[in-house]
Assembly symmetry: C3
Homo-oligomer: 332 residues x 3
């Protein structure tokens, strides 16, 4: 494995191998496996779980890490080719990225969507521009349209359920005060489809996932024996659901248009996942979310504090899942 | 020892055992004692000594650490139960704390007083709410009403003096442009009482320590054979003093009322500790402060740069004292 | 070696010994050499390469490090003697520096020029005031008038060229929207002179390097058999050049006078290093810059992306050069 940027690149067998390695490292720690190795972490956007779990995971394998956060202790980066740099950005990624890469054995990059041009974000242009400058193992810490670390941890979390969470997996839009990126919904729908689940995307009108995202998930489902559909009908979607994965994202009808998104969103505050949503779900239906989650805006206290919630297990699973990624990238 | 949040919880014997361990680690380092262990550090408030001494101490024991600072690289946390989260805070402590805890073997939390409601701060409600969410060893890095790491380091510093600093210990209020929290004065008066010293709290009118703080210190003094009194008379307090511990804090008469505090404080700029304060003190009287200290506002250059000052030794002692805490929490 | 603050302090032999050690550590890593040792890094100014390369270098030698950045997670420091501290700064360097030093085995300090008083900056008063407070090995991470870590890495980069870059070394002023400090130009001209090169400083009128800087470089050249001259004539300077080192700095005629500098600078936007500048240079002329560099303001894309550029090699060489410094300071 040369880089960990997309579960689709790896394929089913390699994902399962990573998860087996994650379980092995949980039961039989290898505290000197990566001695002398250094992980660089570049956060163009804020982080809590990603930073803490990667620094901890590297340490538990005997390695070390450093963190760079442009705008906090270092300057902003320019990303545009050919830019005449007279503004705030003091360094171009064409220098900054290779320089950082030369100090580490593996580099992780977080670079959210610009949120202006849907095509550019779907193509993950910013992340790929940065990745192309790195000549060593690379980890996608969340890009415009992907979050493979979260998807791998979520896969492990589902594996831990009886019968892997069984079949019906509902990705449900939930409310947030602002339009958030598509990275987690896109990664989640693909992950569940790749696992062979029957995926239903439940979202209000104006929030359909882009066709490119749906098509990619359908291709994964075709290979795994799963399925992918979408609906705005909550009752249809949630009936018999085994897993409900709540997530906030921005209107794709008004992508890059904050006012348009706000106009739609204003009427959608009842999209806060409550216990009564799950009345017709399977009895052991579980609720997932990647965190951070706004309580009582996106998911009600009663759900997060109740027995259905898997959110803390998902958070914990970032650690062993990512330790497996680091191990596989750095030991051959 | 399951957690290190309050010297009173430990009792005299355990404190002395920690200090013996601190001295042992100073003379006989154990650079692999905590190999593979990870310390998480969560700073809801700024830090210099605490961050540097904990990261260094963990490294000197062979372990590693990560730092999370909400508002700097990560978002603000919500702490109120039942909050409908539509504002600036992106994550509730009910998710954030357990997630961070799951990535480490011991978690340190700094969470200063809100400074609005004296009862809430005396009860240390915010810290206890956070602590209750952590299912593993925990360290109080300074809360609304306690600072056990500072108290332990100060205890060690006093132990290094001839006759442990002898008997008369004066905690003196000194000037600061703003109302500061009660954590250090409360921890200090308790620590000195627990050591069996005759503690005098010297402070202007309006700055008496809360009765709950004084009562707790008197209980410690009753057990140790010390005493605790308070006065606004500088000459009375300082006569024969063996140790003067200078500290800034806010008016308890005007707690949570910045304007009221400022009105009182305006006339108190002569509460800057100078050499002439110590004319009637013991000849070998020493001066302490937890740092950071504002020179020539709280303590004059002549004192800080003179032979009485212990402030740098106090700062250094954070390192071995906290190494003992880490060692005791993580090795059984 | 007790401290690494200035190549001139070390002399030629010690510099060459450090570079031999850097090459040895590149070919024969010593991943346990500094086990149990701690590097403190204090950044009064932003950093990218310095932070990442020092944290990585310490880790690759088996040691660990912590980072303190006043204004980001900790408060501002007061540096003035005798100050009555009632403003923003919460701690004086007289307490903060010795406290930090007591937590580590070697301390690195970055403290840029104040940019107000040329004499104070040429004397490096701020850095020396801080250095005087540190009682253990010390590294200058860039001060008002020096950047020995960059100079050592650049020396190594030149050593890697055929014939060490040969003789003619041009330090050329290039454009930047603001007046930048003199640390890198001063360190660079001295480094090249100390290597015995024929150094030409090319700069527009008003940007002559201070006589103290030039005199120091001439003394180094006298010892090494090199030379140091300056000119505003681009054609003269660049004819036959073997190395062109581009760097931005502020007007020395208008030092501390932003408006005066801007008035001069406005007409100098053609001082952007392009391929056509090098038409009369040596065929294998190479281009250097310490980074960060503003593309198409200071150096054109065509140069940075072309075969003459050494900037990424310079950045990489920070790592082995600094590992040699750490090794030499901490192992005797």
């Amino acid at each position: 494995m040369q880089r960990f940027t997309d579960l689709a690149e790896l394929g089913l067998e390699q994902v399962q191998e990573l998860l087996a390695l994650a379980r092995r490292l949980e039961s039989r720690p290898e505290p000197r496996a990566l001695a002398g190795k250094v992980l660089g972490l570049l956060f163009m956007n804020p982080s809590l779980r990603t930073l803490a779990s990667f620094q901890s995971g590297m340490a538990r394998l005997g390695g070390d890490s450093f963190v760079i956060t442009p705008g906090q202790g270092t300057w902003q980066f320019e990303t545009r080719d050919g830019a005449v740099m007279t503004g705030a950005a003091a360094e171009h990624i064409r220098e900054g990225l290779p320089a950082l890469a030369s100090y580490c054995d593996v580099l992780g990059i977080r670079a959210f969507a610009a949120g202006e041009d849907l095509e550019a974000d779907l193509a993950d242009r910013r992340f790929h521009a940065m990745a192309a400058l790195v000549d060593r193992p690379l980890i996608n810490l969340e890009s415009a349209i992907n979050h493979p670390c979260q998807a791998l941890a979520d896969w492990k979390t589902l594996d831990e359920l009886p019968a892997g969470g069984r079949r019906k997996f509902v990705l449900s839009w939930v409310w947030h005060p602002r339009a958030l990126p598509l990275a987690v919904p896109a990664a989640t729908v693909h992950m569940a489809a790749m696992r062979g689940m029957d995926v239903v995307v439940l979202r209000p009108e104006g929030y359909a996932l882009p066709e490119a995202v749906m098509a990619r998930a359908r291709r994964a489902a075709a290979a795994s024996g799963g399925s992918v559909t979408e609906t705005a009908e909550r009752a249809v979607a949630l009936a018999g659901a085994h897993v409900v994965y709540a997530k906030e994202w921005g209107s794709t009808r008004h992508y890059g248009d904050g006012a348009g998104d706000q106009a739609l969103r204003r009427a959608l505050q009842d999209w806060c996942l409550r216990d009564d949503w799950l009345a017709a779900a399977a009895g052991d239906c579980r609720v997932m979310h990647c965190l951070p989650v706004r309580r009582n805006s996106a998911i009600a206290d009663e759900v997060l504090d109740g027995p259905r919630s898997l959110v803390l297990r998902q958070a914990y699973n970032r650690l062993p899942a990512q330790m497996a990624v680091l191990y596989r990238l750095l030991r051959h």
